[in-house]
């Protein structure tokens, strides 16, 4: 059987169009090639990820205690309650639920629960939130969700190969930004979008995250991380909607990834996971540092 290999968005799109396959199928085939596993084994492995994601969302929604630092915990349930309430809301129920799920995963992660680092632990809420909420809203099967997860992985793979997925190198644009692009492509395919529309959705979402700093208070993966997952999934929904409206990204996906890489390289290290800049450097940030016994930030100014 022919094995597909791709390293860029352009290559992925060429394969998808030539063989008339969705991105998820190209990705599934690719994985069989690199891992020398059967289709069944690869799917089973992804299914395990899906199971863990569902569990992470569920346990996050139930969490009602605060984390060790007191900065997070208990907000996912609040968000879900609001999503189901009668108050006058201005966005769709699907998006509100996605936001609740994203916070749930983030809170699960902050309190030593089990998550899938997809693409990282800090940004692990965006993709589950997007695919689970969309599948509930549109009554899609698990099989469809899995397609979304394969598509998201393909997008992440291109980012990992050509830029980075680590906040320590690229700032949060590499973590929540990448997760958001991956989620946008995933839900676009799940909703019947073409491969081109999936890449457009990813480009649109990632463009909007360029330059995002990684500035976690006291170095803990809580603030801004947990709620930033909710913002990341919102951004993914927007990217997917714009793409499905037939609007293209003016800049190609590969170019956006390159922009993300160069932007990351230009970012000072204080804004790349060192917890020495941005929100971490504010009076609130410094107060939490002191509270958990960290030495003060010797700021340059």
């Amino acid at each position: 059987m022919k094995r597909f290999v791709f390293h860029t968005g352009a290559e992925l799109l060429r394969l998808a169009e030539k063989y008339k396959m969705p991105i998820s199928e190209i990705a599934l085939n690719y994985e069989q090639g690199v891992s020398e596993k059967t289709e069944k084994e690869v799917i089973a492995k992804m299914k395990r990820n899906l199971d863990v994601m569902r569990e992470a969302v569920k346990s996050g929604l139930r969490l009602n205690k605060k984390s060790f630092s007191g900065m997070s915990g208990g907000n996912a349930g609040k968000m879900l309650k609001y999503a189901g309430s009668k108050s006058k809301k201005i966005t769709s129920k699907a998006l509100l639920k996605a936001m609740a799920y994203a916070i749930a995963c983030g809170e699960t992660n902050a309190q030593m629960g089990r998550i899938v680092a997809f693409p990282t632990a800090g940004a692990s809420g965006v993709i589950p939130a997007a695919v689970l909420s969309v599948s509930e809203e549109l009554k899609l099967s698990d099989e469809k969700i899995m397609k979304g997860l394969f598509t998201a992985s393909a997008i992440g793979l291109i980012i990992a190969e050509n830029a980075t997925l680590a906040g320590a190198y690229g700032g949060c644009q590499a973590e929540i930004g990448s997760a958001s692009a991956m989620a946008a492509a995933a839900i676009t395919e799940m909703r019947g979008g073409t491969p081109k529309q999936c890449l457009d959705a990813a480009s649109l979402s990632l463009k909007n995250m360029l330059g995002l700093t990684c500035d976690p208070i006291a170095g803990l993966v809580e603030v801004p991380c947990v709620k930033r997952n909710a913002m990341g999934v919102t951004n993914a929904f927007s990217g997917s909607e714009i793409a499905l409206a037939g609007i293209e990204s003016f800049v190609t996906f590969d170019d956006v990834v390159e922009a993300m890489k160069t932007t990351g390289e230009m970012m000072p290290s204080a804004l790349r996971e060192t917890a020495l800049g941005g929100l971490a450097l504010t009076p609130t940030g410094c107060r939490i540092r002191a509270k958990i016994g960290l030495p003060p930030i010797k700021s340059a100014h």
Partner: protein
């Protein structure tokens, strides 16, 4: 080497931080694997940000969990210190400064057990859940403990090239292995060699066979860091 989709979608792990939690579990697993026994006493010398932010990230629990061979996805990591107490493993955490040449997320682990030479392992968590082992006893090494990518064989042997040659010959007879890397460190007439293999997992029987080669003190196969 080509990425697997599961380098992106995964690993399944216990939060909150791939570098402070998952990476720390792997350093612990590694130390336990080289020591090859559940220690009765472990001392963790925490360096850099491991010394300062360990509590918020549960790095202490993660390290201990690794020593007890928990996986990075085991929900019991949370209770690792209590479990260690129940198992009668004495542990201690101390702050230290290993020097500027070490990565900020570094720990020196000293493992002890009755009737066994104590062992010292230094490891750093380098991000994304990956760990790197930089010292075993007094030997400088460089082992990247990335789940599932390569198989590592740690071989302690006398400093005699014939020994290593024989080990390598045996390995190539087992199966088709591609040797992606090999590093040796020597102190006096003793060597520590790390083989980096691409291929199938070695079976316990095969590892034991390698350990039987004359001049080999021990062989540890590190295939299950997960």
């Amino acid at each position: 080497m080509a990425y697997s989709l599961f380098d992106i979608a995964g690993p399944v792990m216990i939060g909150p931080s791939s570098s402070h939690t998952a990476g720390a579990v792997k350093i612990g697993q590694f130390a336990r694997a080289v020591f090859d026994k559940t220690p009765s006493k472990v001392t963790f010398y925490m360096h850099g940000s491991f010394a300062t932010v360990s509590a918020g990230h549960a790095t202490d629990k993660a390290l201990m969990a690794g020593i007890m061979k928990f996986k990075t996805s085991d929900p019991q990591i949370k209770n690792a210190l209590n479990i260690a107490k129940k198992l009668g493993i004495a542990y201690k955490f101390a702050k230290t400064d290993l020097g500027p040449e070490f990565h900020p997320n570094t720990v020196k682990i000293v493992l002890e057990a009755p009737g066994k030479k104590s062992m010292e392992v230094i490891g750093s968590s380098i991000g994304g859940g990956s760990a790197r082992i930089v010292k075993i006893n007094d030997f400088d090494v460089d082992i990247k403990a990335i789940a599932g990518k390569y198989k590592y064989l740690v071989i302690s042997h006398s400093n005699d090239s014939a020994v290593l040659t024989e080990v390598l010959q045996k390995i190539t007879k087992f199966d088709k292995y591609y040797i992606a890397g090999i590093q040796s460190a020597h102190i006096d007439n003793h060597s520590l060699t790390i083989l980096n293999l691409e291929g199938r997992d070695l079976s316990l029987k095969q590892v034991l066979e390698l350990a039987k080669v004359k001049g080999v003190e021990f062989v540890r196969s590190l295939t299950k860091l997960d």
